[in-house]
């Protein structure tokens, strides 16, 4: 039992393998496998063109941003179901604010969009962290509530977004030839990763999700951490709403509606545990790209919408099963 001191390991290769956790790499292997599959099957359908590959990244940008927020929430041992409808309300608030104040469209748009997201996050966080209501039920309720507000805000109409600065920075623009949505994705993932892995806050989020009592008795302010992760999720949903509004040059209540399941799947496949204590921002990025690639490839293969849904569901099932099985060993 006490023989496991750093005595000479059997071989350096085995020692290395023992330290690498295979589970963390499931998403990368899966990503590569599906990529190779499409590359071969769809070699004549334009899957491998630079244009198509860039397109995949552009289309997944909002989902990736949402996924980062969900990594924090899940790692803290909670769940957020409301970010999808928050995206729509944030986009609508941004579009309406810009329409109301065209002179200062850019700053009021950002303020309104991010503000709406942060507000939903704060409401979730206060109900969950301070009133100690279960996050599943709270965010299930706010999901419906916020979706309803989104619909009533505009009587189901879509609102155009015309400010060129806004649509450039959050949509079709580029810097040194790099599309702005790619820049947003890279910046958000980089910042998210550093906060998650390299700061005390990130460590406290993981401790809270792993063993809240242990976190509490070692002086971690668990309630504050839980409030923060919902603020992060809400704020990032707001940013995702801005990206949708910028790219589509319009805001509508349907934005983000179908992202909930995709984002949850992306995050879980990316190695984040559903019940807290462990996760990966980079994994969530790859998971999100994997979902986008799947979408893209299945369309290029000419599958009907219903067939796409079935195949995607099955692949997510397999991916989740593999990554979760590896985890429990």
């Amino acid at each position: 039992m006490s023989a496991s001191s750093p005595a000479a390991p059997a071989s350096p290769v085995r020692a290395l393998l023992a330290r690498i956790n295979l589970q963390q790499y499931v998403v990368y292997v899966g990503f590569l496998a599906i990529f190779l599959f499409f590359a071969v099957v769809l070699r004549d359908s334009g899957f491998l063109t630079q244009r198509n590959l860039v397109n995949i990244v552009l289309q997944t940008a909002p989902a990736t941003i949402m996924a980062i927020g969900l990594v924090f929430v899940l790692s803290a041992g909670d769940i957020d179901l409301s970010f999808g409808s928050t995206v729509a309300v944030s986009a609508l608030c941004a579009a309406m604010a810009m329409a109301a104040m065209p002179a200062a469209a850019f700053p009021v748009g950002i303020l309104a969009g991010l503000g709406a997201g942060l507000l939903v996050g704060a409401i979730n966080g206060v109900l969950i962290a301070w009133l100690r209501l279960p996050s599943f039920l709270v965010t299930l309720a706010t999901m419906g509530l916020v979706a309803g507000i989104g619909r009533s805000l505009t009587q189901l109409r879509s609102i155009p977004v015309t400010d060129p600065l806004f649509t450039g920075i959050f949509g079709s623009g580029s810097l040194f030839g790099v599309p702005s949505l790619v820049i947003w994705t890279v910046v958000a993932v980089a910042i998210g990763h550093v906060i998650y892995r390299q700061t005390r806050f990130g460590a406290h989020v993981l401790a809270t999700g792993d063993n809240a009592r242990a976190a509490q008795v070692t002086g971690i302010k668990v309630s504050r951490i839980r409030l923060w992760v919902f603020m992060i999720s809400g704020g990032l949903a707001g940013l995702a709403g801005l990206l949708y509004a910028g790219r589509l040059q319009a805001a509508k209540y349907t934005l983000g509606e179908t992202d909930l399941m995709t984002v949850i799947a992306a995050v879980i496949v990316g190695g984040t545990l559903l019940n807290g204590g462990k996760g990966s921002v980079i994994g969530a990025l790859v998971g999100s790209l994997l979902m986008g690639m799947l979408n893209n490839g299945l369309i290029l293969m000419g599958l009907s919408v219903s067939d796409q849904m079935i195949v995607r569901g099955l692949i997510i099932l397999v991916a989740v099963a593999v990554s979760l099985r590896e985890k429990t060993r």
Binding site: R200, A203, A207, N211, V217, T218, G219, G277
Partner: protein
């Protein structure tokens, strides 16, 4: 020198704790001096764990005073108790299972470096390695994940964390209940090491053999009442057992 060494680090006077109408602790008074090991014994439900929770700031006493180094303190939470140099080894260890050993040793007190205050993993790992070697906790490495360790190793980590941060007092709640013979001996050695560092130790244990091996004094609780305190050298098991059971 002699005076400071024997001054009480912890003084509990007339501590009373009631939960609604139920009195868990009534009129409890005890001193723990620097470098002294005091054992708290009593049957299940005698109030031992409640007392530990009062000293560690989890519960506030209904009445009575807690003094640390002669200063009366109020301990509204666990953080405050830790600021006073009190560390606890909880029965459930309070470890974060999916994190490596070094993150657990520094849980809530992570070291950072640079203007952006990023985690200083290298420093935490180095200190962890030094500490586990010093305390002879045999773990594969400071990187090992807690969930991969044995019960004894996990206990070792929890005790190492407490001894590393304690400046005045360590509270141990059943530290060897789940351990084998060799591991128990190691924990007892660690307790003796705390003594030599002039840290007070308050230990809850169901094993009277262990209590007699380790402690300088024994305090007996029965149904929330303090039955008495005996110097270990001047008592025997029969007396303690009869104090515990009341027959």
């Amino acid at each position: 020198m002699l005076d400071t060494a024997s001054a009480p680090v912890l003084e509990l006077s007339n501590i009373r704790k009631a939960f609604g109408g139920i009195v868990a602790i009534e009129d409890f008074s005890l001193d723990v001096r620097a470098g002294e090991v005091v054992a708290l014994v009593g049957d299940n439900g005698a109030g031992k764990s409640t007392l530990i929770k009062i000293i560690s700031g989890v519960y506030a006493p209904t009445s009575g005073a807690i003094r640390i180094d002669g200063q009366e303190v109020s301990m509204p939470n666990a953080t405050k108790a830790r600021e006073h140099g009190i560390e606890v080894v909880y029965q459930d260890l309070a470890l974060v299972d999916q994190q490596p050993v070094y993150m657990n040793l520094f849980l809530g007190r992570e070291l950072t470096k640079g203007p952006f205050r990023v985690l200083d993993r290298r420093q935490m790992i180095a200190e962890t390695e030094r500490l586990v070697t010093e305390l002879d906790v045999r773990i594969p490495s400071a990187h090992a994940t807690i969930s991969d360790l044995s019960g004894g190793q996990r206990q070792g980590i929890a005790i190492a964390r407490a001894t590393h941060w304690a400046r005045k007092l360590v509270l141990l709640d059943e530290p060897t209940a789940a351990l084998g013979v060799a591991e128990t001996a190691k924990v007892e050695k660690t307790v003796a090491a705390l003594k030599s560092r002039d840290i007070g130790v308050l230990i809850i244990s169901h094993s009277l053999d262990q209590v007699f091996r380790l402690s300088d004094r024994i305090c007996v609780l029965r149904r929330g009442k303090q039955i008495g305190v005996r110097e270990t050298a001047k008592t025997d098991k029969n007396e303690i057992v009869s104090m515990i059971t009341g027959v």
